[in-house]
């Protein structure tokens, strides 16, 4: 930022500075925009605030809609954390989200790379076929997945929970778009230097798309961390429940322990918050580039 003197000799900030910001005339359109953004922000934040608030309340206070608990307590947290099942579900979620993330990073980028950098007959058709699967809603896939899992004996197994997400069309598309940005010269130079095609992908192309890999890893991790429908359907053994499925066991036919559900949900957001805090710049860059390319 460059400090500048205005015509009257007063010191002000340069272009983009705070002084300029405050001098900008407030137009009606801007007020409408800020209002909409504010309302959108409130809409996003309020459920989280209620979740945290409810997790600090006693059962009798749950349906009191005040944001600040009258008698704040950590008893819900102690109860949930002392319940061995919560820890087990947490580990299950962590294991499944990590394994699917690693798998997607590997296979999505490998397929994306091949579709981007290798010229072969039918390449475009394969790409379109992969993309077209994005248009099929998960609800439609659940039955075929279930039948497949049943016939292979994968019901009530970790593999049964993980297999539909081990490779994604979205990830393949994202990585293909990113590999477009890698100049062919890099790959050809490596080819001349004696690397085989797998080594070129792994040692040269992959490090050059690290931001995309990070963004993809975050998307996949979060998607699997919060996945509910499929893990609910494919598992009946509570030892295999993921966290979102396990949290539903706090509600039974006659009673729903909202404070415990909200406590578990609050604890479950910690990893996702950490992931966002550490990698948000990669997410933003990944989304921007995926939108710009191709």
């Amino acid at each position: 930022m460059t400090a500048t003197l205005d015509a009257a000799g007063r010191l002000g900030a340069g272009e983009g500075g705070t002084a300029r910001f405050f001098r900008t005339p407030i137009r009606p359109g801007r007020i409408v925009m800020w209002t909409l953004l504010f309302l959108g922000g409130i809409t996003m934040v309020m459920p989280i605030v209620f979740m945290l608030s409810t997790s600090l309340k006693y059962p009798h206070e749950v349906f009191d809609l005040s944001l600040i608990p009258q008698e704040p307590t950590l008893e819900n947290y102690i109860y949930v954390l002392e319940d061995g099942r919560f820890f087990r579900w947490f580990i299950n979620s962590l294991l499944i989200a990590t394994a699917t993330t690693l798998s997607c990073v590997f296979f999505d980028s490998l397929v994306g790379y091949v579709l981007c950098k290798f010229k072969f007959r039918g390449r475009y058709i394969i790409f379109i076929a992969i993309l077209s699967t994005l248009m099929i809603p998960t609800e439609m896939l659940v039955i075929p997945w279930y039948l497949m899992a049943q016939s292979f004996g994968w019901l009530d197994t970790y593999w049964g929970i993980m297999f539909p997400g081990m490779m994604t069309a979205f990830g393949t598309f994202l990585m293909k778009q990113f590999f477009e940005t890698v100049p062919d010269d890099f790959l050809e130079a490596a080819r001349i230097d004696g690397m085989n095609e797998f080594q070129i992908w792994w040692s040269i192309a992959m490090p050059l798309v690290t931001p995309a890999l990070s963004a993809l890893a975050i998307f996949i991790f979060l998607g699997n961390w919060t996945a509910f429908i499929w893990p609910l359907i494919v598992t009946t053994d509570s030892n295999l429940y993921t966290l979102p499925v396990g949290l539903t066991t706090f509600s039974v036919e006659q009673q729903i322990d909202w404070e415990l559900i909200m406590t578990g949900a609050s604890l479950a957001t910690i990893p996702t918050l950490l992931v966002f805090l550490f990698f948000q710049r990669y997410i933003i860059r990944g989304v921007v580039l995926a939108g710009l390319k191709g």
Binding site: P183, D185, E188, A190, G194, P207
Partner: protein, 360 residues
């Protein structure tokens, strides 16, 4: 080191043929520059030698071994790319040493070779830096280092200087020439810059539309261009061209009626009423006093002056054509002045208007 033989090479993309049966013999240790405008096929030729592009017909041999179906890594070549292609996630040391990763040399020997190469290229102090911390010239040197460290039989350069500014380009040109003189390795160098071609090459290959227009030493192609294209492409500014007609008495007449005796070398080839182009380089077309000795005499009006320091380029309008001549800086005419231009008989080139080939 090795020689390179290219025999009847064809390249097709679908039904489009872009290289039309070229022959080129490159001697062991020779510095050959492929030069031509964009789309002439020079980079395709280089990539076919490298093995990055399959050939549609013909044969390529390196060091006597036909390499048509040999992988790039097994051709004993190294290539420097236009965009350097140095890996941004690796240090200079790792970039230079990259070509040795698959080598079976002991680690100590690899290290020695990397450091020796870095020393030759003046990169010793930069070995731990990453490409983003280097200038354009330094990156170019790293790219060359990565090629050199493998000690290949043939170096291939694909427009390696085109991303550098003019000053750095001149400096790197000198360094490449020194390296070639020191190492004596066969080099095939692609460029669209005729100055690079002239200054670097032992032999220039001028290409257009997938055909070789002319091959020869820089002096040969400059002094004896084989085609109008070669005449115009080599030399800056381009050779002046004037329409002319052959006469029965070994002379040509220009469109304005001026008569120019044909150079002795074309006497046998010149026919009466033959449609021709008369070419003369700006270096040889001088602003003189009327009556100065010479074979070609023209009158025109100065339209633009471009001072170059010791001399100036003088743009002269003659009828509907504009010619470029040279004048010493202290004798530069004014814009709008009428001037007399003269060229010696041996500076005049004649080209058949139909075939565009030089008469000889």
């Amino acid at each position: 080191m090795a020689d390179v033989s290219i025999r009847q090479i064809y390249k097709q993309y679908g039904s489009v043929e872009v290289i039309h049966g070229l022959d080129l013999e490159i001697a062991d240790g020779e510095f050959v520059v492929l030069v031509g405008p964009s789309g002439c096929g020079k980079s395709t030729m280089l990539r076919m030698i490298a093995g990055l592009e399959e050939i549609s017909g013909g044969e390529i041999a390196i060091g006597g071994r036909v390499v048509n179906h040999v992988e790039p890594k097994d051709r004993n070549i190294a290539m420097v790319f236009q965009n350097y292609a140095i890996y941004p996630h690796m240090t200079v040391y790792k970039n230079i040493g990259f070509g040795l990763r698959t080598s079976r040399l002991p680690q100590a020997d690899k290290d020695r070779r990397i450091r020796d190469t870095a020393k030759i290229l003046g990169l010793t102090d930069l070995l731990e830096r990453r490409p983003s911390q280097l200038s354009g010239g330094q990156r170019q040197r790293v790219a060359m280092g990565r090629a050199m460290v493998r000690q290949p039989a043939v170096f291939l350069f694909d427009e390696p200087l085109s991303n550098l500014d003019a000053q750095l380009r001149a400096q790197m040109r000198l360094e490449i020439k020194k390296l070639h003189q020191a190492m004596g390795t066969t080099i095939v160098f692609v460029t669209h810059d005729q100055v690079e071609a002239m200054t670097l090459a032992d032999r220039i290959v001028i290409m257009k539309d997938g055909y070789i227009q002319q091959m020869g030493t820089p002096t040969e192609v400059y002094e004896h261009p084989a085609t109008m294209f070669a005449a115009r492409f080599i030399g800056s500014p381009s050779m002046n061209m004037l329409p002319a007609t052959g006469t029965a008495d070994a002379a040509v007449t220009l469109a304005g009626g001026a008569r120019v005796p044909a150079p002795p070398s074309v006497n046998g080839a010149l026919q009466a009423d033959q449609a021709l182009f008369l070419g003369v380089r700006p270096d040889h077309l001088l602003v003189t006093e009327p009556g100065a000795p010479g074979a070609l005499h023209l009158e025109g009006t100065v339209s633009v002056i471009e001072p170059l320091g010791p001399e100036a380029l003088v743009y002269v309008t003659i009828g509907d054509r504009e010619l470029v001549a040279k004048a010493p800086a202290h004798k530069t005419p004014e814009v709008g002045a009428s001037v007399h231009l003269t060229a010696a008989g041996e500076a005049v080139h004649l080209f058949d208007a139909q075939t565009e080939r030089a008469l000889c």
